[in-house]
């Protein structure tokens, strides 16, 4: 499932809200696994976005002749 319109910051914020809820224990037992899975999915998406951004930065730096690397 991809949600390209959701920003990194939005995903990160949702992930943090989920973690806080779980840590408070403020969650239905049936919801626990669902929330956890949702958290893992958000994490994967964020990590992917970060690594894409990093790749772009390095690529651009290389293309511009990166004396400062």
């Amino acid at each position: 499932m991809t949600e390209p319109e959701v920003s990194f910051e939005q995903s990160q914020a949702e992930l943090e809200r989920i973690v806080e809820r779980l840590e408070r224990g403020d969650v239905e037992l049936e919801e626990l696994t669902r929330l956890w899975e949702r958290g893992e999915e958000l994490y994967r998406r964020c990590a992917e976005q970060l690594s894409t951004a990093q790749g772009k930065i390095e690529e651009l730096a290389k293309r511009l002749g990166d004396e400062s690397a």
Binding site: V19, W36, C46
Partner: protein
């Protein structure tokens, strides 16, 4: 003194010498007077006994030869130059040998400087009252000008100084030069026109430059028309007139005052080397920042992910301990715990005994360890 004429064929005839003598004598009877004019053609040489100059009427151009003993002239320490307006005190005199008439000068006073200064002060006060010199009117110079307009005389020095200063600091600068009169009555209007012309051609900063000169030379730069034009100029104006000590009124109306033409040149452009250095530093820190942002996000994400991994178990544990606590509370509510504390439950038949039973009633008694029977007395 008596001038003798000779009788020739029945007419009285004077010799040239006698005639000149007669005129000279007659002229000597005229009073000593003050004459006002401009000094021109001033000639002074160490081996001459007198200093010679011509007094000129600035309006009509009428001329009057004048001479003064050199010692007296030097004693006045006026340092006169051509074009200065003076009051001269003297009397007419004839050079008999040549029949030349001149003014024998007894003293000279510079005229006009005081008058000029006073009128300049009045103009300065008037323009200051209008706010033309106010600090809040001053505009900053463009950081990198697109097109620099330079107004200057066609004499090399000031122009060369400005151009050299600009191109040394910032070789790619674009400059247009407007050559104008920089002294005399035509200077102010021609500079006003040049400024407007340069603005029209797209200059985004204008320099008005002129090397040093006498007080009179610099007077056009205090001309009201020019001062107003500088204040009203749509782009910033840098004034670079004369030397440090000269302050024509244009300086006060300009956005920036440069002490010399060279300084003006350095002020309007940035140092290209410095600029490139700064750009390079900005580029480096841009990359560094971009990398740092990704790094920080990664670290935060990793930390959150770690918490996420622990969270479900933590939630279950919390839930488990809450269950235990509830169970504990439940247990305190059961009668067993009361029996544990040494209380007993007494029954008569099936019902609990709450009132005094009749004698001989069979009772069932339950304690923590078990039950036994009893009978009332």
């Amino acid at each position: 003194m008596k001038v003798e004429a000779t009788e020739v064929d029945g007419r009285k005839v004077f010799s040239v010498r006698a005639f000149n003598q007669g005129i000279a004598v007659w002229l000597e009877r005229l009073p000593t007077v003050w004459v006002e004019g401009e000094v021109t053609e001033l000639r002074r040489q160490e081996r001459w006994a007198s200093v010679f100059f011509t007094l000129k009427d600035p309006e009509s151009g009428a001329c009057l030869s004048a001479q003064m003993p050199r010692g007296q002239f030097d004693g006045l320490r006026l340092e006169l130059v051509d074009g200065e307006r003076v009051h001269v005190y003297g009397r007419p005199e004839l050079y008999e040998q040549r029949g030349d008439f001149h003014l024998r000068v007894l003293t000279i006073e510079r005229y006009g400087l005081g008058a000029h200064l006073a009128s300049l002060e009045r103009l300065k006060a008037k323009l200051a009252a209008e706010g033309l010199f106010a600090a809040e009117r001053k505009r900053p110079l463009p950081r990198i000008p697109r097109l620099i307009g330079l107004v200057t005389g066609n004499d090399a020095a000031a122009k060369r100084d400005v151009l050299t200063a600009i191109t040394t600091r910032f070789p790619p600068a674009r400059i247009i030069v407007a050559e104008t009169f920089v002294q005399g009555p035509r200077a102010a209007p021609s500079i006003v026109t040049a400024i407007a012309d340069l603005c029209e051609r797209g200059a985004d900063v204008v320099i008005v430059a002129r090397g040093g000169g006498s007080f009179e030379d610099l007077l056009p730069f205090s001309d009201e028309r020019l001062v107003r034009a500088v204040a009203a100029c749509p782009v910033p104006v840098v004034s670079a007139v004369g030397h440090e000590q000269d302050t024509p009124l244009m300086d006060l109306a300009a956005d920036v005052r440069a002490s010399t033409p060279s300084v003006a040149g350095r002020l309007v452009v940035p140092d290209l080397d410095e600029l490139q250095g700064g750009l390079e530093r900005a580029r480096t820190s841009l990359r560094r920042s971009a990398r740092r942002i990704v790094e920080q996000r990664s670290e935060r994400l990793a930390a959150t992910h770690e918490r996420l991994g622990r969270a479900p178990l933590l939630a279950l544990e919390r839930r488990g301990s809450r269950l235990e606590a509830t169970h504990g509370r439940l247990k305190t509510l059961s009668p067993r715990s009361t029996l544990d504390r040494g209380y007993a439950i007494v029954r008569a038949g099936d019902s609990l005994v709450r009132e005094l039973p009749p004698s001989g009633t069979a009772l069932g008694i339950e304690v923590a360890a078990g039950s036994f029977g009893a009978r009332t007395e």
